[in-house]
């Protein structure tokens, strides 16, 4: 039973008591989880506030100062409500679906480096893991829609299946263009590559590090990724899966109380995961935008979350400003516009890198 002891040390080790060699995994995971949930609560509020501001409303402003505690009030409300399970529903799957959504969204954060090396698991195939997690996200929606045994949720599930699979393709190709430039699938390496090479270095002003990041050389891919991320997470203007004007509330129609809360939470954490992916792939991760003292004093983890919030603000603005797409139009831009564009960019980037010898090559010169 040797492995149990070593596993316990790995999980619960306390360095100050001389028991473990490192801070126990459980504590780090708990810190990330709690931080993430609190961040999500305020992001939810921010989403509603931005939406309200665009429509010249006040938004939630009753609970706490400026309505800051609104999300927590909602949490209590959803927690104490009665969970209604429809009589004809497949009970096990009906309750499993929100769990899948929430668990998968949280699992994705295991590999996200919020600062240099600050990831739960710094694995060599981090970006592939994130792609896998985001491609599994569709199951919560499909299973929930099917298990409800009701027409509108089922329509939502069918739409989700087609939509999320389609946009995964362009997300995958966008990721490939970034990987070609970096030469490594490690998320930590992707961020480091963006600070060690790029336009600012080429221009001789290495302190202007925001010019180094991939959003500039790969700008078309940045836009494609942003729009695909909106579609992949079922955010407006691509929220046909919920589409309250046609499908009541889509796949969530039959859900109430805690299962609904889990769906909602999972969805927002998945959105934040997509924002984090955008930050890591295109916006330099934890790096400060200008590599000079007043900016470098701020810790990387704060920069990371500032950037995530900024990307989320763009998501929220898209929700407030852009009208909902028609479903066939969504499919059209996915397959006929983004797929050829990103395929073309993969070829162009590969050619440019091969001919000029640019790129980070996984740190191997």
């Amino acid at each position: 039973m040797d492995f149990i002891l070593s596993a316990l040390d790995y999980l619960l080790g306390i360095p100050f008591l001389g028991w473990g060699e490192q801070i126990g995994f459980v504590y780090k995971a708990l810190a990330l989880l709690v931080g993430l949930l609190i961040f999500t609560a305020f992001i939810l509020l921010g989403d509603r506030k931005v939406w309200a501001a665009v429509q010249m409303r006040r938004g939630p402003n009753v609970v706490g100062p400026f309505g800051l505690l609104q999300s927590f009030a909602d949490l209590i409300k959803f927690g104490v409500k009665e969970a209604v399970i429809p009589a004809g529903a497949d009970k096990v799957l009906f309750l499993l679906a929100p769990l899948i959504t929430a668990t998968l969204a949280l699992a994705g954060w295991a590999v996200v480096p919020v600062d240099n090396g600050w990831a739960m698991a710094n694995i060599n195939i981090g970006i592939l893991y994130l792609l896998g997690i985001s491609s599994l996200g569709v199951y919560g929606v499909i299973i929930g829609g099917w298990a409800s045994n009701s027409k509108y949720p089922f329509f939502g599930a069918l739409r989700a299946a087609a939509q999320m699979v389609s946009y995964e393709v362009s997300i995958g190709l966008v990721i490939i263009t970034v990987l070609l430039c970096v030469g490594s699938l490690n998320l930590n390496d992707i961020v480091i590559a963006q600070s060690e090479m790029g336009l600012a270095h080429a221009l001789g002003v290495p302190w202007l590090s925001f010019l180094n990041w991939f959003w500039l050389p790969l700008f078309p891919m940045f836009v494609v990724f942003y729009i695909s991320a909106l579609a992949e997470t079922n955010r407006p203007p691509f929220d046909m899966v919920e589409g309250e004007s046609e499908l009541v509330a889509g796949f969530m129609t039959e859900y109430s109380s805690t299962p609904y809360l889990l769906f909602m939470l999972g969805e927002y954490i998945a959105i934040l995961l997509m924002c984090a992916m955008t930050t890591i792939l295109f916006l330099g991760g934890w790096a400060a935008p200008i590599d000079l003292p007043p900016f470098t004093w701020i810790p990387g983890v704060i920069w990371f979350f500032i950037k995530v919030t900024l990307v989320f603000f763009m998501f929220a603005m898209a929700k407030a400003i852009v009208p909902r797409y028609r479903y066939d139009q969504l499919m059209r831009i996915g397959w006929k516009l983004f797929l050829p564009l990103s395929l073309l960019m993969v070829v162009i980037v590969a050619f440019v890198l091969q001919l000029t010898g640019w790129g980070w090559h996984g740190g191997i010169a």
Binding site: S135, L136, I142
Partner: protein
Amino acid sequence: MTLPLFFFYVFSAITVASAFMVISARNPVHAVLFLILAFVNAAGLFMLAGAEFLALLLIVVYVGAVAVLFLFVVMMIDVDFAELKSGLLSYAPIGMVVGAILFLELLLVAGSFVIAPDMVGAGGLPIDATMDNTRALGLVLYTRYVFLFQGAAAVLLVAMIGAIVLTLRHRTGIKRQSTASQLGRKPSETVRNVKVKSGQGL
């Protein structure tokens, strides 16, 4: 017992159990979901074997795309399982033959590990332990096996085009949307400002 061994038994036990449930589940959607569970656990086994790239590829391609479409189809069609089960006996001999062949082949593969351990992996390239999985796979795939790789890609492309050609039907006499002409419209061509005197109409 080490930790990887413990996880190996967990993953393989769930894989075998869910594979059994795939063929014994009463509801076809449940069967597909068990199939997905088997896929995910197989990916876990790949991960334990050190093939992390293949494991994630299995998740992204099979679980994330193929199985979704599979589930999509199974959810859409109305399968009557009682009717399906009635034909079970007539198909049983064919199934048994296929199963027997598969079992025999597996036995031969497993047997080669016992009979000639030194021959196992002799046909492959030497593995560089310092190189990570993805890089090693890429270097082999795009150099030594590049023609086979391109050939496989061509076969897939032909299959894809074939599937589209088989299902595509051109219907004449229906209105189609032309996005180019829609975007090419200008206000000056379609909108006309008219001053209408009240009570007169146009």
